[in-house]
């Protein structure tokens, strides 16, 4: 057999996986495609921006040729396109430094999702039926324009409501500008696990209404109060990068880490010390530590400055927070309080983090302010190993046309008012938000929306909210359009993640910013937005920023996917004007819970799922099949119960139970978990969608359905951890809890 025919034969045997072609080629066993015959598709790497959460991580997108089935003008056919193949963290990005979380990796499935809405749709059936007909973009835009013109004709511009998601970006600025120019109120952003309490506290303590950035990489001791900062909270990839450096990134030095929470989160699992406290008392522990620090004299009380002044009794050294008092209130032994305080003072620099459940109580603002004061006491703000506030580009100032931020309207008050017969919107735009799913049923968001005469959705998918829409104008995916974010945290320097489209649109979709611009132009009274397209806005915004290469900040960003650096004076968001201490210093008030303790014996803790966050990612099959970090569950939802509690209730692993609050009941399956307090039950958010593509619909249960409409007293933010529930066993395992792990104990479970 000559070499040529040998090669032909071997080429047939395979492509891909695994063989050496080193050494003597004749000795290679099966040579897949011989070197000289390789005609690989040429991979191109393009920058991108992850749009699944507000963290604004930079992407490197691998793009290669592919044959796609597409429909263009009613004609189906196969077109060779440059298709995104894989998303990776951009190596030089100041936020994620090359890392990318599971959710970011799966973001590519948004673009290629089989259930994506491929073209504009107009509702034909009853609301919620999901019956739609295809319409052309021209007809769709004409319809919106006529609706908005009608509002204007009636002088009722204020009744246009724009529901969107949290996150800082040029797109958000454009939307705001659009609304303000039209005469509508600013967009309503609602996020169940939002951080409004912390932003408010930071504004009060430090004059910055934004989430902080932690310099974990240089910290020697990290004390986190409930913040799942390695999992889902704030800027998780940036925090993971820094955490890795804190642990093993410095020669001979290893930072220590303690986590205060009563249900072990993925972050808590990495802690050296795990500190369970009673729900809603985290602030007490923070002040107990502050009390001990001040009592040693090493930390004078005035070191905390304005953050300390917000706490009642601070100047006097917090006399009511002696370790014994802390033990009484939090349930944590005084000795451990002292131990935590000792470490917090000995290991310098130390930093405290607060976020998540501790702030989702009726006393959330107090807790945030208490931890802020503790940070201020040890001088963490602005110091290496401490906390920073990422400078924020002021888009309105940068484009000299945008409208300044206005106080946002809370969804809850809007809905309550509308249902009470007050002002109710005539037209609602839904853009990336799904409040029907994420807001507590007690708010009756769906009922409110059903009253709205005209709803437009810009979403990629039919979900619980967009299925109520009368018109659906599907957006491009973030790979098909300009993707950008202005990360609120995650880097010490200002960052603008900006990337041009990496591929042509797969479907007949349009980028929502461009749609808004076009609608603005088409209105009877054009809005006079100064940009033809969204990228013009970006260009205008970045024009004033310094460029490292000299060819302009936008050109730099197009190249690298990110602009980062010092913001010129006047383009940064200023510190909060409110620099005076709050009029009344706050003190600990016992958290209030919805539900009678006898009837509903357990605290209920919903938490942001590692895979799906609040549920907005439940439609991605990779994330559905990714084992949960603590339980190894896939494609499921569950409730976590302490083993002792489970035994007392006669419940064993996998049993079907009903979790009942005063506001609802869900039937789900039990995971018996040692990492949860006996008086607490926890449930991941994300599943329980009624309508959300083939992968998420009808799967699992949504813990939000149990939540009481409790709020933090001071800020009005939803106190999502303040509901009490009872748990009753319904039956044996029904096979719907799918676990990847055979056993979660390394030793001895079989020996019982």
């Amino acid at each position: 057999m000559d070499r040529r025919s040998f090669i032909k034969l071997t080429a047939v045997t395979g492509t891909g996986a695994a063989l050496a072609s080193c050494g003597n080629p004749e000795n290679d066993f099966i040579r897949f495609i011989p070197d000289e015959m390789i005609v690989p598709g040429v991979a191109v790497w393009k920058p991108g921006v992850c749009s699944l959460c507000p963290a604004g991580c930079g992407l490197t997108v691998r793009v290669m040729d592919a044959d796609a089935d597409v429909v263009r003008d009613g004609q189906a056919g196969i077109v060779r396109i440059a298709a995104a193949k894989k998303l990776e963290g951009a190596p030089d990005h100041p936020v994620n430094h090359g890392g990318l979380c599971a959710r970011g990796q799966a973001a590519i499935q948004v673009t290629y999702h089989p259930d994506r809405i491929t073209q504009p749709l107009r509702r034909t059936g009853e609301r919620g039926d999901g019956l739609y007909e295809a319409v052309s973009w021209d007809d769709a835009l004409a319809e919106i324009v006529s609706r908005l013109d009608a509002l204007e004709g009636a002088g009722n511009q204020g009744s246009l409501t724009y529901l969107t998601r949290v996150g800082r970006s040029h797109r958000a600025a454009l939307v705001r500008d659009f609304l303000v120019r039209f005469g509508a109120p600013p967009p309503v952003a609602f996020e169940i696990f939002g951080d409004d309490v912390l932003r408010r506290a930071n504004a009060l303590s430090f004059g910055r209404e934004q989430l902080p950035t932690f310099d974990l990489a240089n910290a020697m001791y990290v004390l986190s109060f409930g913040a799942d900062f390695l999992g889902t909270w704030n800027s998780p990839v940036a925090q993971n990068v820094a955490y890795g450096r804190m642990r093993q990134g410095r020669r001979g030095v290893r930072g220590a880490f303690a986590q205060v929470e009563s249900r072990m989160s993925q972050t808590g699992a990495s802690a050296d010390e795990w500190v369970p406290v009673r729900p809603g008392t985290d602030g007490v522990l923070a002040l107990g530590i502050a009390h001990l620090l001040m009592s040693t004299g090493a930390y004078p009380s005035d070191a905390a400055g304005r953050a300390g002044a917000l706490i009642e009794g601070w100047a006097a050294g917090l006399p009511g927070y002696a370790p014994e008092d802390v033990e009484r209130m939090t349930g944590l032994e005084a000795a451990r309080v002292e131990g935590l305080a000792r470490q917090f003072s000995d290991a310098r620099p130390a930093v405290a983090i607060v976020g998540g459940a501790p702030l989702a109580h009726s006393n959330g603002l107090f807790t945030a302010l208490a931890v802020n004061a503790l940070n201020a006491l040890v001088g963490a703000p602005g110091r290496d190993g401490g906390i920073f506030f990422t400078p924020q580009l002021d888009v309105a100032a940068a484009v000299q046309s945008g409208s300044p931020a206005q106080p946002a309207v809370a969804l809850e008050s809007l809905v309550t008012e509308g249902l009470a017969g007050g002002a109710s919107p005539e037209v609602v735009f839904v853009d990336g938000a799904n409040p029907v799913f994420t807001a507590p049923p007690a708010w009756r968001v769906r009922e409110w929306l059903e009253q709205v005469p005209y709803i437009v959705s810009f979403g990629h998918f039919l979900d619980e909210t967009s299925i109520l829409a009368d018109l659906i104008l599907p957006d491009h995916s973030s790979l098909e359009s300009w993707a950008e974010a202005l990360p609120e945290s995650g880097a010490v320097m200002a960052v603008a993640s900006i990337a041009p489209p990496v591929m042509r649109p797969l479907h007949q979709t349009r980028a929502t910013p461009d749609v808004l611009l076009e609608v603005g132009r088409m209105l009877g009274t054009p809005l006079a937005l100064p940009w033809e397209t969204f990228d013009e806005l970006l260009g205008a915004s970045l024009a004033g920023l310094p460029s490292a290469s000299g060819s302009g900040a936008l050109a730099d960003a197009r190249q690298a996917g990110v602009w980062s650096g010092e913001l010129p004076a006047g383009l940064a968001v200023a510190d909060s004007a409110d620099t005076s201490p709050a009029s009344v210093p706050v003190a600990f008030t016992a958290p209030e819970f919805d539900g009678d303790a006898d009837e509903y014996p357990f605290h209920f803790l919903p938490y942001s799922s590692n895979a799906f966050l609040d549920g907005s990612l439940a439609h991605l099959p990779w994330l559905q099949e990714m084992p949960d970090p603590l339980t190894s569950a896939m494609w499921s939802s569950w409730v976590e119960i302490n083993p002792v509690t489970a035994e007392r209730l006669g419940i064993s692993a996998g049993d079907v139970v009903e979790v009942t609050s005063a506001h609802g009941t869900v039937r789900t399956r039990v995971v018996v978990s040692p990492g949860i307090a006996p008086d607490l039950v926890a449930m991941p958010a994300g599943q329980g969608h009624r309508t959300f593509t083939r992968y998420a619909s009808g799967r699992g249960e949504n813990p939000v359905e149990l939540l009481a409409p409790m709020t933090d007293a001071a800020t009005g933010a939803l106190a999502w951890a303040a509901t009490r529930v009872r748990v009753t066993r319904v039956g044996p395992p029904d096979g719907r809890l799918i676990l990847f792990a055979g056993s979660l104990r390394e030793h001895g479970e079989e020996h019982r």
């Binding site: 099966i30 792990a741 055979g742 056993s743 979660l744 104990r745 030793h747």
Partner: protein, 451 residues
């Protein structure tokens, strides 16, 4: 008890070939239906994907390999028993040898099918054969599965020939007893057999050599089957005792299978004069010995593991002794040890009925033994995170049942075309002097266990 004469032997043993009742067709149809069901199950598994079975991560072997080992084990019934008894010239062997050898051949055929059913891409199974392909890709001779391939092929060839050779004179008998097309067929099958002293000598020499050759092959086959397990670093698999343990277990289950087959033939073909209580009694004693040997091996295996106290081994150990697999495990011990000891050890129970009941117990117990070797170990292999379990699906159960039906079907068809007792051997045993056939008297019994 009178011994039948030569003519009577011929008449009695050729009769089943010539007389066929409706019962035969009904049973053929019944077993055939099961076999067809198994075939449909297998084809659908090939067509729809291997996932129809209950195999999963990490229990990658299940019913199919259990059945493979089980049937290869059953196959040791025959050849080994008949070869050993032939070599030691045990006269009472004569009526049972062909029954046993037929079991061997059919069980091997069925057993050898299971690797094919079991693998993910059966259409590529020919890659196990060392043929000079154009890519010069040979099989890996370091793989126990290739050893299996060679061993089973040798054993199947040997057993088939061992079964066929002594059938030649009997084909001549049938040839001479029939007419028409049937005679023509048997004339071909008889290969020109006449019965000259030279032919008899050659045949007997050949049988001697075959008997000597087949015994080490049989031992090697089940040792190699045990190597399939003991070559992999799986808890409770990697043990040197598996070779002899498997061989003993194979003979054990083989005898049980033989006893059942003989009892059925005796009843259906009215062979009460030939398959006498003596044969059951002697085979029962042999099975009793094997039960004791089996108990000895199991005790060894368990005790050593218990004292070794390796964490991974103990995970499997407790799984079978106390936890999820304990009910099956103790059923196996009762079937394989307690039941045979009572029924075969106490002389009063060692009747044909007693032997058959014990044999059914052993067949079930030995099937469970293979299952309990495979599944608990694979399901609790090292890292507990990857532990798992296994539940068979319909396709596996169907195929398993179908193979038992296939065994019955093959056996029935075989008994229909071949005298199930070797006529010439029986005559040769009877002819020289009836004394050579040990009468079923007390003093000839091989020594009773008085429990």
């Amino acid at each position: 008890m009178t011994h039948p004469t030569g003519q009577q032997i011929t008449r009695d043993l050729v009769r089943p070939l010539l007389l066929t009742t409706w019962r035969f067709y009904v049973m053929i149809a019944l077993f055939g239906a099961f076999v067809v069901a198994g075939l449909v199950a297998w084809l659908s598994q090939v067509y729809f994907g291997f996932g129809l079975s209950g195999i999963n991560w990490p229990v990658f072997w299940g019913f199919y390999i259990t059945n493979f080992v089980f049937w290869i084990g059953i196959s040791h019934a025959g050849t080994l028993i008949s070869a050993i008894l032939r070599l030691v010239n045990a006269g009472w062997r004569r009526p049972v040898t062909r029954c046993a050898e037929a079991i061997t051949t059919f069980a091997l055929l069925i057993g050898a099918m299971f690797p094919l059913i079991h693998i993910g891409r059966p259409w590529l199974a020919f890659w196990l054969i060392p043929y000079p392909s154009e890519r010069l890709i040979w099989p890996n001779f370091r793989s126990p599965l290739v050893w299996d391939f060679f061993a089973i092929n040798t054993y199947l060839t040997g057993s088939l020939l061992f079964l066929l050779l002594p059938m030649i004179p009997d084909f001549a008998v049938v040839r001479d007893s029939t007419t028409g097309i049937r005679q023509k067929i048997y004339r071909v099958l008889a290969l020109g057999w006449r019965g000259t002293p030279k032919q008899w000598h050659r045949l007997e020499s050949a049988m001697q050599i075959m008997a000597i050759a087949i015994i080490p092959v049989a031992v090697s086959v089940h040792t190699i089957v045990s190597f399939d397990f003991s070559m992999a670093p799986v808890p409770m698999w990697q043990t040197t005792i598996f070779g002899p343990y498997f061989v003993a277990g194979a003979i054990f289950s083989g005898i049980a299978g033989l006893i059942i087959a003989m009892a059925v033939l005796r009843r259906l073909l009215h062979l009460e004069d030939y398959l006498r209580p003596l044969h059951f009694e002697n085979l029962g004693k042999l099975m009793l010995v094997m039960a004791l040997l089996w108990g000895y091996f199991v005790f060894n295996e368990r005790l050593v593991t218990y004292y070794g106290n390796g964490p991974h081994e103990m995970a499997v150990f407790w799984r079978t002794q106390r936890l999820s697999f304990a009910p099956l495990y103790w059923t196996m011990v009762v079937c394989n040890f307690v039941l045979p000891l009572i029924l075969l050890g106490i002389r009063r129970f060692r009747t044909i009925t007693g032997c058959v009941i014990a044999s059914f117990g052993v067949v079930i117990g030995m099937w469970l033994e293979r299952y309990l070797i495979i599944v608990p170990s694979l399901g609790a292999k090292y890292l507990p995170y990857s532990h798992g379990t296994y539940t068979p699906e319909l396709v596996e159960v169907t195929i398993t049942v179908a193979t038992f039906a296939a065994m019955c079907l093959l056996y029935m068809l075989f008994a229909k075309v071949v005298p199930i007792i070797s006529i010439w051997e029986l005559k040769a045993g009877e002819h020289p002097s009836p004394a050579l056939i040990p009468p079923a008297t007390e003093k000839h019994q091989l020594g009773d266990l008085h429990l």
